[in-house]
């Protein structure tokens, strides 16, 4: 299958003299992929997503979207194809949920164009897909963490992009919402053919929905490939310094990771 998004040996630092946050990373996202990006805090996951979405440009290397250099696209053109769900959404002013979702239409509208019936339909469909229709006129800041996250995902869907990049979408959610969001993402990937990359700390979420994984540590890719090949106890130890057991859960048929203990820091081969 062709690569929809390809980061070719990209590196990035936030300021001159600062350490490399992403250091020579190559990532390929095939059309229709559902990839997880795993790694400890500060491993460069969020920054990698920013490079993939084009909101930051790599210091070296390049990112290709459909074989075209991403930095040659205007922000508007890039946003029509790549939507992002950030880790948290903090608004400076009060907007209703539907207003937030309609903001996803921004790259499709001219400077003075006002959202029309078609845009409203797309926004409402996105809210249906995320189960947030009943929240339409509620102020965003009054919603619970899970509701907010689903509204923000709806806004990203309303962007009508083929690629969705999510930064720890379940980090602040309770177990029920975690399951809800993960089944939503899986459904969007399968039914709506949205290609996704998800950064997460939740190994079991990654194991249950991601078909491939990218393991990152210190800005580098430690391992990448199909989930069942990459998610091994050895790799988990390399990634988090944690001894873990990986089993297939008989109920779900997914791999399940059970952390056992923190191992002493030792000489890394990488």
């Amino acid at each position: 299958m062709r690569d929809l998004l390809w980061a070719d040996n990209v590196s990035f630092r936030y300021a001159a003299g600062a350490p490399l946050v992403v250091d020579g990373v190559t990532v390929r996202l095939a059309d229709g992929a559902l990839a997880g990006i795993l790694g400890p805090n500060g491993s460069g996951k969020t920054t990698l997503l920013r490079l993939l979405s084009g909101t930051r440009r790599p210091g070296s290397g390049r990112v290709l979207l459909d074989d075209r250099p991403l930095d040659q696209l205007s922000r508007r053109d890039a946003a029509r194809q790549i939507a992002v769900v950030p880790q948290e959404t903090e608004l400076a002013f009060e907007y209703t949920a539907i207003e937030i979702v309609l903001m996803g239409r921004h790259p499709h509208l001219g400077v003075f164009t006002v959202e029309g019936p078609e845009d409203l339909r797309i926004a409402r469909d996105a809210m249906t897909a995320t189960g947030t229709n009943h929240l339409e006129d509620r102020p965003f800041h009054e919603l619970s963490g899970g509701e907010k996250q689903r509204v923000v995902i709806a806004a990203a869907l309303a962007q009508s992009a083929t690629l969705l990049l999510l930064d720890e979408p379940t980090a602040s959610l309770d177990l029920g919402y975690q399951l809800e969001i993960s089944s939503l993402l899986s459904r969007l990937n399968q039914d709506h053919r949205v290609t996704m990359a998800i950064s997460t700390h939740d190994l079991n979420l990654a194991a249950s929905i991601c078909r491939e994984l990218i393991l990152m540590r210190n800005g580098r890719v430690l391992a990448a490939g199909p989930t069942n090949e990459v998610l091994t106890p050895e790799n988990i130890t390399l990634l988090y310094d944690v001894e873990a057991d990986v089993q297939i859960n008989s109920e779900t048929g997914h791999m399940t990771v059970v952390p056992i203990r923190r191992v002493e820091l030792r000489q890394k081969t990488l």
Binding site: V84, L91, E94, E99, L120
Partner: protein
């Protein structure tokens, strides 16, 4: 109702209110006049006292009030969105302090020059605002990428304090009458003596308001932060530059016309948001319209409440604005 319908409806409502206020305000004052008589062309100008009062004394004042109020309120909206801080004002970033220093120097050094019927004080204050804007802009964009809103805020606040010290110094060495004149200017006043200063300020405010119109929806997206806005297709740095420069230009023009009239840029946007929500496509034009009528009404109070004594309009807005600001702070926390 469609979104377009709502935008047009709300703006039309504010526009009607503003027009009513602007037509009514010039008829009110120590001498009451009749609109019908003021517009009666059959009477000769020399004997039509109502027309003279309307067109010479009161209309320029109402127009300058409307222009200053609209511009400051809209600039407040833009800066609040740019800084993602609902407590920002058009004066937060040092523009008005620069303008005040310019005016102060013009008064104490007796600048004699004028341009196109505009006297030295507004010219010097406009120049001061441009210089302050330039300094803050240079500081905020000195870093490698983009415009740092944090640096913008810190540089603005610091520049405000620095210029205030310079103003105090100039005041200290100035003689008594000059110092009094300068202080009076800083209280704000809309008694502009004719149409020339309004016409001179108009191009700058029109340019700024057009720039504001172009960025209305973008300001909505910026309220979720620059990273999120960029991911939705906003050219963030370009938008921030345009917002800062146009809001500063607008503020500079408004301050050179009416002095640093405080609180308009914060009360009006907040009241408008309470009434109509936060969509900047509504908040921006509605704030401009409501800012116009609000300042005209404040000025009406300023010239009638203690007549024949006039209260500086900046004192009136501050006396309304101060408590309002505190109420907002308490309500927000």
């Amino acid at each position: 109702m469609s979104i377009r319908g709502r935008i047009i409806g709300v703006i039309a409502g504010f526009a009607i209110f503003t027009v009513v206020v602007m037509v009514w305000a010039p008829t009110v004052g120590t001498t009451s006049i009749s609109l019908a008589k003021a517009f009666d062309r059959s009477l000769p100008w020399d004997s039509n006292v109502d027309a003279q009062i309307f067109f010479v004394a009161r209309l320029p004042r109402v127009l300058s009030g409307a222009l200053v109020g609209a511009t400051l309120a809209a600039a407040g909206v833009v800066l609040q969105a740019l800084l993602r801080n609902p407590l920002a004002t058009p004066f937060t970033l040092g523009v008005s302090a620069g303008a005040s220093l310019g005016a102060m120097l013009a008064v104490t050094m007796n600048f004699g020059f004028g341009l196109l019927g505009v006297s030295a004080i507004p010219l010097a204050s406009f120049a001061g605002s441009i210089i302050a804007t330039g300094i803050v802009y240079a500081l905020a964009s000195s870093q490698r990428r983009g415009l740092s809103t944090n640096v913008l805020l810190l540089a603005g606040v610091t520049l405000n304090a620095f210029f205030s010290a310079m103003i105090l110094f100039v005041q200290y060495i100035a003689d008594f009458t000059e110092a009094l004149r300068a202080i009076r200017w800083m209280m704000g006043g809309l008694d502009v003596a004719g149409y020339a200063p309004i016409v001179a300020a108009l191009p700058f405010t029109i340019i700024s308001l057009i720039a504001f119109a172009f960025m209305a929806r973008t300001l909505n997206l910026l309220s979720a932060g620059s990273e999120a806005a960029a991911a939705r297709g906003v050219e963030v740095v370009r938008a921030q530059r345009l917002a800062f420069l146009s809001a500063s230009l607008a503020t500079g023009a408004a301050v050179s016309l009416g002095g640093p009239i405080g609180f308009i840029g914060i009360i009006v946007p907040h009241l408008v948001r309470l009434l109509v929500g936060s969509d900047h496509r509504i908040v921006l034009p509605a704030s401009a319209l409501f800012g116009a009528s609000f300042l005209v009404l404040c000025d009406l109070a300023a010239r009638t409440l203690m007549a024949p004594l006039e209260i500086p309009v900046g004192v009136v807005t501050a006396m309304i604005g101060g408590p309002f600001f505190l109420w907002l702070l308490v309500r927000n926390s």
